[in-house]
Amino acid sequence: MNLNLKVDKTHRYDAIVVGSGMTGGMAAKELTEKGLQVLMIERGREVKHIEDYDTAMKGPWEFQHRGKISIHSAEEYWANSRFGNLANEETGEFFTDDKKNPYIEKRPFDWIRAYHTGGKSMHWGRQSYRFNKNDFEANAKEGIAIDWPIRYEDLEPWYTHVEKFVGISGQKENLEVLPDGHFLPAMPMSAPELYFKEQMMKKLNRPITIGRVANLTKPQPWHTELGRASCQYRSKCSRGCPYGAYYSSLSGSIPAARKTNKLTVLHDTIASEIIFDEKTQKATGVRVVNQKTLAVEEYFAKIIFLNAGSMNSAALLLNSKSNRFPTGFGNDSDQVGRNIMDHHLGVGANATVEGFEDDYIFGQRPNALYIPKFRNWGTDKRDYLRGFGYQGGASRSDWKRGITTDGFGATFKEDMTKPGSWVMGFGGFGEVLPNPENRMYLDKDKKDPYGIPMIVFDAAFGENEIAMRKDMMNAAVEMLEVAGFKNVAGFNRQDTHLGLGIHDMGTARMGKDPKTSVLNKFNQVHAAKNVFVTDGAAMVSSSCVNPSITYMAMTARAANHAVEELKKQNL
């Protein structure tokens, strides 16, 4: 592996990218391909593609607790463990030890992090949907928060650009609510799913599509060139994909950036402050802390991209104080850290499906069905704003059904070797409205082990989300009943908090007016245009679709703008 470790003695680069995850990787790729010398700063340990995927090829018996989380791990990963064992034996190495990286909760917040090369791109759900035109207009139409400074048309070419590179498997549907993208061949649906899809169209006029997912169903030459191969349908994506079929920064953007020989990556390096020059009114670089030695260093560049993840990017702005920015870098509007959004989940319905006994599936599909938003769309009007989509599908139960059904002994044992009946279920992803009172800020006194102020979360779901959840459950129940399935049971978990969707966003929003927003329409800090924030922090509203592909499109667009502006000597 070509690791560019030669750090320039003068610590000078064309661009610094803080973070190596979904958007940091994309920023590094775009900037290096346009000829810039880029320094990427990653706070966590180095993970090498393939080589460091320790659990990727293990059989189930090779995990001591067979996937269950031990009490010990549950205490190390306390935030991860509240709702489900995200950080289990199979995938734990790609989640962050919460005990070593503490945060403060004024109100409960499930902050799920991934401090290592590739960040959360190592275990993202890979679902990739474009925002629709209305997503960019809804705030203005409804008088919510502020208007987006961009429209769908501004992002459209960049969606195509990143979709091609990433490789998204999906089906064109020609729906206004869910714009089509550039797709690789779609994954198939099972027999009960096809039946369900047909019933929904016939009885509710509701379109359903197969999930649009960042797994290569048919690698294109530019994927193969980076060493990426076709999906093997193991559905063990979050252990790290040794085939590179699953898009992550490690399989895609970082190798592409390395090919240019213009990328330098620092690991174990935590960006603590942006350095501001009062004379030029520009940022000149970043101050960093080595997480192993606690040594402090400074690195300099013409432009800086913040891609540390929405909460950490905002924290970095807040921690960068100067005469010009006494309350944090670019925080003239007091919006940095505010308007935290996510998607709310843990609500939906399940059912058992009769029949289809001779239908089965070979291989594991790392994907589900997608039911696009249908509430507050077209002629539908609800007493709450916005809407939700569902992900889910049908599967045949396996031996685990034996846990909850009676029986034991030789016949029971034999039964367990055969597939059980089909079950079908859906979980919703609901849009969260921006609210300035949902915020994070830095604690005045408490510092983390690296001497950086700790983050305090003070955010919760609002009335609109709570009202929507009831409908999310009922609508899921209705669909399964309309399809004629049995034992339909809705669920609406009350123990979820903001953050759990791992789609946290909104803490340094874009906008037209510097008084009410942090960034301009090209993700530049209004008052210091050589600093770009292109991760989830930039979002003005959340839509209900999984956001990563939108972050990546925004990043590519901002990188293009940055290089154009550099050429014009505007930065």
Binding site: G84, R234, E357, G392
Partner: protein, 201 residues
């Protein structure tokens, strides 16, 4: 502000499975510096024999290996120790004490089965208070949600779940029960053949 330091939370386990949750203390402050030391959990030799016997009755040796052949008894004990807290330690020990009182090991195999059928039907009632619910999360994960209870999960639920988990995920148990396809290489909708075994991945 909610103090959740003492809130007992259920977490669901194993994506796609109906696994019961070990209860976890949700810690509010990193300064708590709680030592990750599960309460001591020790079984007598006699109790260990009962665990092995019950596991073997659940998954007996047939033309394929049984629970004892693949090391399930030790696995069950290790799991109770490592993955469960005091309430489950207590309910598991209570279940074993009950079988000890019934002189379980000295009974005939048909008597043993009768007793376990009784234990099983009792636990159906006990499980009702937990209001177990399957929930779908993002990325199409299935997880199990249970209503919080001060009482540990019933003995039968624990031993049955851990026996099945230990057996069907052991190398011998898995390969002799299923068609093991670690690298499918393709995704196809198929028709089941007569007596076809499940795929395992």
């Amino acid at each position: 502000m909610m103090d959740r330091r003492n809130a007992i939370r259920n977490v669901a386990l194993l994506v796609g499975g109906a696994f019961s949750a070990p209860t976890l203390m949700a810690m509010n402050h990193w300064e708590d510096n709680l030592k990750a030391s599960p309460a001591a959990f020790a079984l007598s030799d006699n109790q260990k024999l009962i665990v092995a016997e019950v596991a073997e009755i659940i998954i007996p040796k047939t033309n394929t290996p049984g629970a004892k052949d693949v090391g399930v008894p030790d696995f069950v004990v290790m799991m109770i120790q490592d993955c469960y807290r005091k309430p489950e330690h207590i309910s598991f020990a209570e279940g074993l004490a009950d079988l000890e009182n019934k002189k379980f090991l000295s009974l005939s195999s048909s008597q043993k089965s009768e007793i376990l059928k009784q234990v099983e039907s009792n636990s159906v009632e006990q499980m009702k208070v937990y209001q177990v619910q399957q929930t779908k999360m993002g990325d199409n994960d299935d997880r199990e949600q249970m209503k919080e209870q001060a009482k540990g999960l019933p003995f039968w639920r624990l031993i049955k779940e851990l026996t099945l988990l230990g057996y069907y995920t052991s190398e011998q148990g898995l390969k002799s029960s299923f068609d093991y396809v670690p690298i499918p290489g393709k995704l196809e909708m198929t028709k089941l053949k007569p007596n076809q075994k499940s795929f395992a991945y």
